[in-house]
């Protein structure tokens, strides 16, 4: 990165506008698959949930390294909606009941 670029680069203010909170009765979980590219999974998380880059990447790495990541929690109808959209993008998305609620 050049000095000019460094001076004009703006850091993201925050990711507080993101739509998700990991609480609620239903979890949307994405499981690992050996096919989809990491950059593709990040893109999907950004498009579907409005995640910022770092948050999308964090979930992608969790999927890749742990085998699964809880990407959203909330009411069942909305969880079904997100699971469906993720499946349209060919990610392995499942619904789980949040036992902690």
């Amino acid at each position: 990165m050049t000095i000019d670029e460094a001076q004009t680069t703006t850091a993201p203010i925050s990711e507080t506008a993101e739509t998700t909170a990991l609480v609620g009765p239903w979890k949307v979980v994405v499981l690992n698959d050996p096919v989809n590219l990491m950059s593709y999974v990040v893109l999907v998380f950004r498009k579907v949930f409005g995640f910022g880059e770092s948050r999308a990447r964090k979930h992608m790495l969790e999927v890749h390294e742990v085998g699964r990541s809880i990407v959203w929690c909330g009411l069942r109808e909305q969880a079904e909606h997100f699971a469906f959209i993720l499946q349209q993008w060919h990610l392995t998305a499942i619904l789980e009941r949040n036992e902690t609620d």
Binding site: D33, P34, V35, N36, L37, S39, Y40, V42, L43, R46, K47, E53, A56, E80, F84, Q87, Q88, W89, H90, L91, T92, I94, L95, E96, R97
Partner: protein, 151 residues
């Protein structure tokens, strides 16, 4: 509207297109990725699956439409913000199908890294693997140029 034109080598890509078309057609009304619908209401499952299949079919048609007579005349394919999502999803669908049905003898790690000794593959496996890599390259191009913030 952002738009990219990619010039491909007809000599390299044309032989792969027959494979991609055949694999796409093999999807027919089957989903590329298995979906777990146990948590979905029984009454909803058929409609859920049917909608996924319809979406997948539309995406695959968008991918195949890239390689029309203009492509065979010029070797150029066009990606823009209108077709990018469908192309990305279709590439994922065909890659999943390739992995599950045609490259299932190959280790996941080898497919993920792309580090495969081509000389140990059969002629058919080699063609399927080249398609697998080609579609990944298409995805990377679209993500890099039309979704630069996530590349």
């Amino acid at each position: 509207m952002k738009r990219i034109e990619v010039k491909l080598s007809l000599a390299v890509v044309a032989p792969l297109l027959d494979v991609i078309k055949a694999v796409s057609e093999s999807l027919d009304d089957q989903l590329a990725a298995a979906v777990q619908l146990e948590r979905i209401d029984v009454d909803l499952r058929k409609a859920w699956r049917d909608e996924l299949v319809a979406s997948q079919n539309g995406d695959v048609q968008s991918l195949l439409a890239l390689f029309d007579s203009d492509f065979f005349a010029s070797g150029v394919v066009n990606f823009d913000e209108d077709n990018a999502d469908a192309i990305l999803r279709a590439c994922a669908a065909v890659r999943l199908r390739l992995k599950d049905h045609y490259l299932n003898d190959m280790a996941d790690e080898a497919l993920e890294s792309g580090e495969v000794a081509l000389e140990v593959l059969t002629v058919d496996q080699r063609r399927y693997f080249m398609c697998y890599l080609f579609l990944a390259t298409v995805q990377e191009l679209v993500i890099e140029h039309l979704e630069p913030s996530v590349s």
